[in-house]
């Protein structure tokens, strides 16, 4: 499909906290092309979480237009947004957000379950996604039997299993050590043809992106292209 995956036009988001109005986003216009790997940076309070919620269809903008895959989602109902998230977006969170006491396979199956995919096909696709992230031998493991890096890889498999147009990663390495962070970022950047929006406040993590958008006080401060950081392939020999 031609055209940008994400097209935001003059997005504002205002929260009313009693009498006080908080302007979290003040007119953000942004496009993310297919296959791009964009990092959104900003200190806390810059509005990057709000932007991520809007882009992720978890929240609706107060004003402005949001075209996701060419579809205007800014005025969709809660149920429509849920279906949009299910079909078009994959989420990776800082705290993994896997269902506890539920096997890796079943966790990955979850989005397909809500999409109404039949049991057999669901199993096959979930197993395939887990194999893709290198956990083909851990299908029946429970989250608490997996390391942090492995849990995040399960979450990535869950995000990929529906073949989404957009993968949203919210501080995906925030709960991981340096080594594991690199593994996870390596995995994310190695996924071909996938559009990724990464929200982070760490420069090390943003360095993996082709493009860095910096937010401040609910507005875009800068939008720059860069040469993405990649691991030295020789390092893997060790």
């Amino acid at each position: 499909m031609a055209g940008p995956v994400v097209a935001l036009e003059g997005i504002t988001r205002v929260f009313s906290l009693g009498d006080v109005e908080v302007h979290a986003l003040r007119g953000v216009t942004l496009q993310v092309a297919r296959g791009e790997f964009v990092a959104i940076m900003g200190s806390s309070g810059s509005g990057k979480s709000t932007l991520m919620n809007v882009v992720g269809c978890l929240d609706r903008p107060t004003a402005g237009r949001y075209l996701l895959d060419g579809v205007d989602v800014s005025r969709q109902s809660r149920a429509e947004l849920a279906r949009t998230r299910n079909k078009t977006i994959g989420f990776v969170f800082q705290s993994f957000n896997l269902l506890s006491r539920t096997s890796a396979l079943e966790n990955v199956e979850l989005p397909l379950l809500y999409a109404g995919v039949g049991t057999r096909q669901r199993r096959a696709r979930a197993a395939e996604a887990l194999t893709r992230v290198g956990l083909g031998d851990r299908l029946e493991h429970l989250p608490n039997q997996l390391s942090g890096g492995q849990q995040q890889r399960v979450a990535i498999a869950r995000a990929l299993v529906t073949n989404p147009s957009l993968l949203l990663a919210d501080e995906p390495t925030g709960a991981l050590d340096t080594r594991t962070s690199e593994e996870v970022m390596s995995l994310l950047t190695g996924l071909r043809d996938l559009t990724v929006v990464l929200v982070t406040h760490e420069h090390d993590v943003a360095a993996w992106a082709q493009r860095v958008v910096t937010l401040r006080d609910g507005q875009i401060l800068s939008d720059t292209q860069q040469t993405p950081f990649r691991l030295d392939p020789n390092r893997h020999e060790a």
């Binding site: 149920a79 849920a82 079909k87 989420f91 957000n97 379950l113």
Partner: protein, 409 residues
């Protein structure tokens, strides 16, 4: 997502927390079991009342003689013999709604075997009496018309008297029992009949032929009958009409003019029976409503736990919403969880209730009375309780904001 997958999802969530699921279902289990057991108790009590009246004899009227009146003091019914043997014959032949009538002449007295003696009620009657009261002879031969015609000195013992005079399990047939110094031969022992609705022991009595009674125990009464007349009505619906028929027959025969008081009275046992049955029905309804309240409390238990569960699983709900669960799908999952708890609880409760009812029936010697409609009603009601009390928590879950839910610790 189909209903099958929703139920599977709900079931898995319930099994993840087995103890809590069990405790939640326990409220419903106890509620349903209570309904079934309580209704069984009520039904058992009602049946027992019915059996008690069936033991007395069905469709019975008892005609009692009138009161004596001396110096202005009226002695009450039964103190003055006003009924005659001709009255009895008239009732038997002239009252069209009456199928049978038998005299029951009564006296209290001491009976003596060779080794024991016992004060009891002595009744003089005819073979018809035993038919009307459906009273079998357990040992020996039943009373016959020839016993009556010959005025034989033969006696039938009630089970209690037989036991008091000869000891339990003894066979007293052919033994001699003295009554007012006159020796009688024991011709039979009657089957045990139990207690009257008022607690009187039917089996504490002896029977002799009415002709013998008349000649030996109440001489000098002439044509008057020193007791009551048992009347059996042809059909249960006619008892009230038969009562009027017998009443007007006797008023005619006794030449009572208009405005004169009856010199007899007629007891309609069907009326007593229906009053007692009403009492038993009230008891039944009371027990059932208490049980229904406990079922309601069980439902509130479900709501309580589901609310806790929804709060505790906020993050899970957030995750499900993030990956694309619609509010409707979340609602369905929690509703089905509540429904499964209620229905499984209901079914276990039915099992437990049936067991309890069976134990109670053994305990009290009642027939096992489990009404299928009550079982179905209790199970259905527990389902309704599940949906009713599960709806609010499920709605609460479905209305969560995914962003807040995901951030919930």
């Amino acid at each position: 997502m189909g209903p099958l997958q929703t139920s599977r999802l709900a079931l898995r969530a319930l099994l993840r927390n087995k103890l809590r699921s069990f405790l939640t279902a326990l409220g419903i289990i106890i509620g349903v079991a209570a309904v079934i057991a309580m209704v069984a108790i009520g039904e058992g009590a009602r049946t027992q009342v019915e059996e008690t009246f069936a033991a007395m004899g069905t469709n019975l009227l008892i005609v009692m003689p009138g009161s004596s009146s001396s110096g202005g003091a009226r002695g009450g019914f039964g103190t003055q013999p006003t009924l005659t043997w001709d009255d009895l014959k008239a009732i038997q032949t002239e009252a069209s709604l009456v199928s049978a009538a038998a005299p029951a002449l009564r006296l209290s007295g001491q009976v003596q075997s060779e080794e024991q003696n016992w004060g009891t009620s002595i009744q003089g009657t005819t073979p018809t009496y035993f038919e009307i009261r459906r009273w079998q002879t357990a040992l020996g031969a039943p009373m016959s018309d020839s016993d009556l015609d010959s005025g034989a000195k033969v006696m039938w013992l009630g089970a209690t008297v037989a036991e008091k005079l000869f000891g339990p399990g003894a066979d007293p047939i052919g033994q001699s029992v003295r009554l007012k110094g006159v020796p009688f031969v024991v011709a039979g022992v009657l089957a045990r009949k139990g207690q009257s609705p008022m607690g009187q022991d039917y089996d504490d009595t002896v029977f002799i032929p009415s002709s013998t009674f008349k000649a030996r125990l109440s001489p000098g009464l002439g044509n008057f009958l020193s007791g009551v007349i048992f009347v059996q009505v042809r059909s249960g619906e006619d008892t009230a009409r038969a009562q009027r028929q017998v009443s007007s027959l006797l008023r005619d025969r006794h030449r009572l003019g208009q405005g004169a008081e009856d010199d007899f009275s007629i007891r309609n046992l069907a009326e007593v029976a229906s009053a007692q049955q009403e009492g038993a029905n009230t008891l039944s309804a009371l027990l059932a409503s208490i049980a229904a309240v406990s079922l309601l409390v069980g439902g509130i238990g479900i709501m309580n736990i589901m609310l806790v569960s929804v709060t505790e699983r906020t993050r899970e709900i957030g995750i499900r919403m993030a990956v694309g669960a619609t509010p409707g799908q979340i609602l369905a999952q929690f509703l089905v969880e509540a429904l499964v708890l209620a229905i499984v609880g209901g079914l276990v409760g039915v099992g437990l209730g049936l067991f309890a009812a069976q134990q109670l029936s053994v305990q009290f010697g009642w027939p096992l009375l489990v009404r299928a409609d009550i079982v179905a009603l209790a199970t259905g009601f527990s389902g309704v309780v599940g949906v009713g009390f599960g709806l609010y928590p499920a709605l609460k879950a479905s209305r969560m904001d995914p962003i807040t839910a995901l951030r919930f610790e």
